[in-house]
Each structure stands twice: as structure tokens, then as C-alpha cells.
């Protein structure tokens, strides 16, 4: 039985004349177009992910919630400063790592190596995002502990003219803070993993297939 693929091969090599043909000008125009490759998308989205935790401070209600004076009155201001310094140091490290790995991506590598490098780059961002999520939770945690340890929380917040017992109000506030912390972290995680999944769906599928071949 004649090998079907060899039959196809003969025909394939005759097909040349039936292929579309672009002119010099058409090709010339193309080299100035913007790439819409997955690597470019990953680059832009990663930049947004690096900036996102910092951009949140521009939203007034978020800034109020994380208000420094509030932290100061709770006596946790030094903790917040320390956490902020750590956060920036780690962010700079991750951005450096990300850039280094991004530069290593080369279309001239073999398919498997190329995919591997893209994933390594993306993984840097993934680790950074996980770190940020942990930091967000930690900051909420520090506030919650600060609030719980503050005996005059209701006075601190100037809320004592309400009809609710101060103690009850304090635990209510802590409860709200806890729920807000979890929801907020969950929302950020959701956005991130959705973007990550959508961006790398095709890439993951092909990478798994190549790796399975070598197994």
C-alpha cells in the first residue's frame, strides 16, 4: 500500500504555483505593522499586573481604607511602613527578573525552548502576583489584629455617637474588614488567573503535547 503521506508530498510540492503571491510593496508595508503576538500581550498585561497594586492607591476609597493616620492611631504604622518597603523591594526584584527573562525570548529558538522561555517569563509574573496577593492579605491582617488589640477602636474612629454598643461595633468593623480583605484578594486572584488562562491556553496545549512526546 502506497504511503498516503508520500502521495500528499508529491502533490504538495506541485502546489507552489497555486499559492497567493504578495508584491514587494505589500510585504514592505507589513514589516512596519505592530505585532499582536502572545509575547507582546504577555508583556503589556504583565506591566499592568506589576502596576495594579500601586494603581489601587489612586482610588480614593481604597486610599482611605488604607489610611496611614488610621494605621497610626492603631499603633501599627511601623508595621505598615516595613511591609511597604518589603513590597517595593520585592517588586523591583521581580520586575528585573521579568525583564531579563523577557529579553531571553527568541523566535530563533526551537519550539520547545521558545515555549519554555515564555512560560518562565510568565511564571515570574505569577509569583509576583501571588506575593502581592499575600501582601494584601497580610496588610488586611495587620489592620485586623491592630483593630482587635485596640481597646478604644470606636473612639479612635469617632464612631461613639451611634446607637450600637461600642464592643459590638468593634467586632462588626473587624468582621467587615475580614470579609472585605478576603473578597478583595479573591477578586484580584480571579482577574489574574482568568487573564493568565486566556492568554496561555493555546500555548499550554502545545507545550504539553511537545513535552508528552519526550516522556
Amino acid at each position: 500500500m502506497l504511503d498516503e503521506l508520500d502521495l500528499l508530498k508529491k502533490d504538495w510540492q506541485k502546489k507552489e504555483t497555486n499559492l497567493p503571491r504578495l508584491t514587494y510593496e505589500e510585504i514592505y508595508k507589513m514589516i512596519w505593522k505592530k505585532s499582536s503576538s502572545v509575547v507582546r500581550w504577555i508583556f503589556y498585561i504583565s506591566i499592568i499586573e506589576f502596576l495594579l497594586p500601586h494603581l489601587l492607591y489612586l482610588i480614593p476609597s481604597f486610599r482611605n481604607e488604607m489610611d496611614y493616620n488610621f494605621a497610626k492611631s492603631l499603633g501599627i504604622d511601623n508595621w505598615i511602613i516595613a511591609l511597604t518597603i518589603v513590597q517595593y523591594a520585592v517588586a523591583i526584584y521581580f520586575i528585573f527578573q521579568f525583564y531579563k527573562r523577557y529579553r531571553e525570548i527568541s523566535v530563533l529558538d526551537d519550539a520547545k525552548k521558545l515555549m519554555n522561555k515564555i512560560f518562565r517569563t510568565r511564571k515570574t509574573v505569577k509569583h509576583y502576583v501571588l506575593f502581592c496577593l499575600a501582601m494584601v492579605l497580610l496588610i488586611f491582617g495587620v489592620f485586623i489584629v491592630g483593630m482587635a488589640l485596640d481597646d478604644n477602636l470606636v473612639e479612635t474612629l469617632n464612631l461613639n455617637n451611634q446607637n450600637v454598643a461600642p464592643d459590638q461595633l468593634k467586632w462588626l468593623l473587624i468582621g467587615v474588614m475580614t470579609v472585605a480583605g478576603i473578597l478583595f484578594t479573591g477578586l484580584l486572584a480571579g482577574i489574574y488567573f482568568l487573564l493568565y488562562g486566556l492568554l496561555t491556553r493555546k500555548l499550554s496545549r502545545n507545550y504539553i503535547e511537545l513535552k508528552r512526546m519526550e516522556a
Binding site: 504511503d3 498516503e4 503521506l5 502521495l7 500528499l8 508530498k9 502533490d11 504538495w12 510540492q13 506541485k14 502546489k15 507552489e16 504555483t17 497555486n18 499559492l19 497567493p20 503571491r21 504578495l22 508584491t23 514587494y24 510585504i27 514592505y28 507589513m30 514589516i31 505593522k33 505592530k34 505585532s35 499582536s36 503576538s37 502572545v38 509575547v39 500581550w41 527568541s106 523566535v107 530563533l108 529558538d109 526551537d110 519550539a111 520547545k112 525552548k113 521558545l114 515555549m115 515564555i118 493555546k202 500555548l203 496545549r205 502545545n206 503535547e209 511537545l210 512526546m213 519526550e214
Partner: protein
């Protein structure tokens, strides 16, 4: 990038554009998507061109960039409708060699190849382009033995698609 480099690149690509068209025809279903992928491959080739030292043939170098773009870098364009309008466009039948049975079999073969996964298509493409197993293995980053094994599996798969 200077003018001379631009001219050199565009001329080389113009002369070797069949390779890119063939990759596009395997990985896309219609004219718009074909052009979209062609453009992305052109951009990637141009970006990598300064690194092309001429120690290999321009065409050899193109296979790798074109396939990497199709398998890994290319994101499908939104304007892509889900219909097939290719068979009548690219794979025209040359009248002088018309053989109904063989033509029908070939057409079935092409549609079977289209149903393969991205990676399988890359192997088939390089095979059809008469590349040896060591080149196929090198382009994809797998071992030569595995390239052979995979190719045999693809042949079996194609046979199953053709004779269900």
C-alpha cells in the same frame, strides 16, 4: 534599521514567500486569517532578521521562525469566521493532471491534515517540505527518535481519519 537591510529582507522574503504561505494555509481556514498570520510571521522574521547571519540559508531560517509564530506566538484574529473557504482558493486542481479518484483522495488527505493538532501539523509540514528527521527534531526541540515515532503515529492517525 537601514534602508539597505529593509530592501535585502523584503527581497529575500518576496522570493521565499511560498514557505510562509504554505504554513498559513495549514494553520488557518480562510483568506483573512491567512493574511493575518502571514503578517505576523513577516513581523517576526523582520524583528529577527538582524540576527540572521547568513550561516544558514534564508529559507532554512524561515521555517523555524514561521512555525514558531504559527504554533506559539500567533493569537487568532477576532475577525476570523469559522468557515472553510480555502479548498477552492489555494488548492486549485491543475487541469492537465486531473485524476478524479486521486484528486478526491488528496482532498481528503488535506482535510485530514487540517484536523491534526498544531504540533502534528508542524511535523507533517516539515515532512512534506522534504526535511529530514534531524531537521524536524531540531526545529521542534525534540529528539530525532521521538520525531520518527511521532511521525509514524501521525501516519496511523491520518489513516484512521481517512478510513474510519
Amino acid at each position: 534599521m537601514n534602508k539597505e537591510l529593509e530592501h535585502q529582507f523584503v527581497t529575500e522574503l518576496e522570493n521565499n514567500q511560498n514557505i510562509v504561505h504554505k504554513v498559513c494555509s495549514l494553520y488557518t481556514n480562510n483568506r483573512d486569517a491567512h493574511n493575518d498570520l502571514f503578517q505576523e510571521i513577516t513581523i517576526q522574521l523582520w524583528k529577527a532578521y538582524p540576527k540572521f547571519r547568513g550561516d544558514s540559508k534564508f529559507s532554512t531560517w524561515m521555517y523555524r521562525v514561521a512555525l514558531n509564530t504559527a504554533i506559539t506566538l500567533y493569537r487568532k484574529s477576532k475577525r476570523r469566521p469559522a468557515t472553510y473557504d480555502y479548498d477552492s482558493v489555494v488548492y486549485k486542481i491543475s487541469a492537465e493532471e486531473y485524476d478524479p479518484t486521486q484528486e478526491q483522495q488528496l482532498s481528503l488527505m488535506y482535510s485530514a491534515v487540517r484536523q491534526l493538532s498544531d504540533i502534528d501539523k508542524a511535523l507533517v509540514f516539515l515532512y512534506l517540505e522534504d526535511k529530514n528527521y534531524s531537521e524536524i527534531a531540531e526545529t521542534l526541540g525534540i529528539s530525532e527518535v521521538n520525531a520518527r515515532v511521532k511521525m509514524n503515529r501521525i501516519k496511523t492517525k491520518l489513516r484512521t481519519i481517512l478510513n474510519p
